[in-house]
Symmetry: C2
Subunit: 121 residues, 2 copies
Amino acid sequence: MPGTVADEERLDRAFAALADPVRRGIIARLSRGPATVNELAEPFDITLQAVSRHIAVLEQSGLVTRTRDAQRRPVHLDAAALEALTAWIDRYRLVHEQQFRRLDAVLKKAPQRNQGKEGIS
Amino acid sequence: MPGTVADEERLDRAFAALADPVRRGIIARLSRGPATVNELAEPFDITLQAVSRHIAVLEQSGLVTRTRDAQRRPVHLDAAALEALTAWIDRYRLVHEQQFRRLDAVLKKAPQRNQGKEGIS
């Protein structure tokens, strides 16, 4: 069931990258299209250096990429990397849902005893 | 666009909780049904105390809950909390996809110039 060490480390970095409101804000902005560091820094009340560090964390996590265009170097969102995270979460969310449905089916098959007890109280 | 401070802190804690392979392993196990700390510790080569600390992190993040059943105190997965994370990610993933589709439509509307250039080379 668990992935390779590289897979696990990628998930570690990606989830950790999303555990910060500034980095989530950057992801939200990039979902609307590529942007430069200056554009990304604009809505935040922190230094350009701090924004650059957040972008570096996102880059190391694979959630964003930067083109080598020396003039602008815009930052891009990697939607496939985001999808890998929802795939991980949904896998276990769906297993959990299935278990619930199975339990529900079992309870529906044998309701007599419980209903009898409830009738007494 | 950004949520309340409480929402943001909840996302911080939940994403940080998933940024660890042992905690993801615990989530995977709990997707199949509630389990005690001993049961959760079994597949891991770490102390029971370390597992308890991981469970405490997951509890604080809201991803798991513990019943007050003193005998067993099994740990349960909170599927709704997991869903909140996929909802956050998917929101921006879908915005990004829409932007791509719009760009694609624009490029399809005016293909003559680029095709002409390609024809020459």
